[in-house]
Symmetry: C2
Subunit: 265 residues, 2 copies
């Protein structure tokens, strides 16, 4: 299971300020910390960048690539900003992401073909609602692959995000199990080794006790690994969650074990 | 997932001494600690008690039942000691356990029928070797159920222990995954809701860094819960492993979630 840092986000005050001033330092300092913790890739969550998508996305890509060769997930719902990122990036890029939302199918999905990039597909209805059950998720997954094929994007390019629900939702815990079952079942259902990604922090979104949140993340990320998850998007600076993710990744995949593989805390 | 304390074992010096003196205090003090930590049951691992099985098992049962009403797993390979325990116990008792070993089939399995008790069945060959792969484990499971039926023990009485391997074994990590797959697949294979139990401490048996061992136990117990494990036999005094087991148990089973259900650390 590869670990992707979700730490670089426009929702953070200092990143907003960095963007406003086009000051790369806060961005680069954060990216360096994520690299130290062994991130496999960096999610660059810029938000829509409505005002000047090309210029602002250019700033982010240059800032990040100034300190890392890691793959980047460009995480924006604005296709103009996405295109600008794909044009600007020298590192490997993953498009994060598309769904059955008509605007995304029309404007975002074709970018995967044009730039020959992996693209993350969310299991959401066209109006962005979350499906109620596993059957709903499977139907959406099949439709996402159909749409991708129609757009000339090969199925191996798609990474499915089954959308981890907040436990705070009324049926969040049932949905969290549905996500595990979907991850486990997709390869059989689709007949090839479908890759999957999950954003872990959504599970514990909302106010609450940090210790308890980390406990739930630790157990859930291990269950995700056990279900066969390929990519975990998480707070790479949360030592405990990351240790759990790494050990679960070892248990779910390795053929040979030694204690040297296990991270300290 | 119910948590069973594996803490009361004859391998501990103070428990050996308690047995020698027939002094209930060290046994009772340990059992009380396990109860405080919320154990669902106590595994009473007495060893074979070859010298005076009736008298010595009687001592253990009286000592333990003097301070708890919890279910007891009587954990001995000596059928005379097991019978003595079943005769002496007033609490609910689970027999731990039997296998395809001829002596166990002949002497231990019938006790489940006679005392109308649940009995744990180990997925081991008749010579106590561990099967190499999942197929071997499934064959043994089928044979255990056949033998139970022939002995007049209903299948609902059997709790399967797929035998967690030490990671230190050459192929231990592959076997650890086989155990997860077996737990997940048994109910479908056998056509009813087969219960399963695992002893967690075996995973990290041997010398080594305690922090790393706990990390592996935390992730593996979450994966076990995700696979559908019913009973986890573990060190109930290891706060971190127990927190992981409890949170994973919540994630794997509950229909309604609230943060109040999550243990602190």
């Amino acid at each position: 299971m590869k670990l992707i840092a979700d730490n670089l986000r426009i929702t953070k005050k200092d990143i907003q300020e960095a963007l406003r001033l086009h000051d790369p330092e806060p961005v680069q300092s954060l990216v360096k910390k994520c690299m130290e913790k062994g991130a496999w890739a960096i999610d660059v969550n810029t938000g829509p960048l409505c005002k000047s998508p090309e210029e602002d996305m250019g700033f982010f890509i240059r800032a990040v690539e100034g300190v890392t060769d890691l793959p980047l997930l460009i995480d924006t719902s604005n296709h103009a900003a996405m295109r600008a990122g794909l044009e600007a990036a020298k590192n490997r890029v993953l498009i994060n992401g598309f769904s059955l939302e008509p605007r995304k199918l029309e404007k975002m999905l074709p970018l995967a073909g044009k730039y020959d990039a992996d693209i993350i597909g969310f299991l959401l209805y066209p109006d962005s609602r979350v499906p109620k059950d596993e059957a709903g998720r499977f139907e959406i997954a099949l439709e996402l692959f159909e749409k991708a094929e129609a757009a000339g994007v090969s199925k191996e390019r798609i990474i499915i995000d089954p959308v981890v629900p907040p436990l705070a939702w009324e049926n969040g815990i049932v949905q969290a199990r549905a996500v595990l079952n979907v991850i486990r079942a997709l390869p059989d259902l689709l007949g090839f080794n479908v890759r999957t990604i999950c954003g872990l922090s959504n599970l514990t979104a909302g106010a609450g006790d940090k210790v308890k949140k980390t406990l739930m993340e630790q157990s859930y990320v291990a269950m995700l690994a056990g279900a066969g998850l390929d990519y975990a998007l998480l707070d790479i600076l949360n030592r405990r969650t990351v240790s759990a993710a790494r050990t679960a990744g070892i248990l779910s995949k390795e053929e040979i074990f030694s204690w040297g593989m296990v991270p300290g805390v």
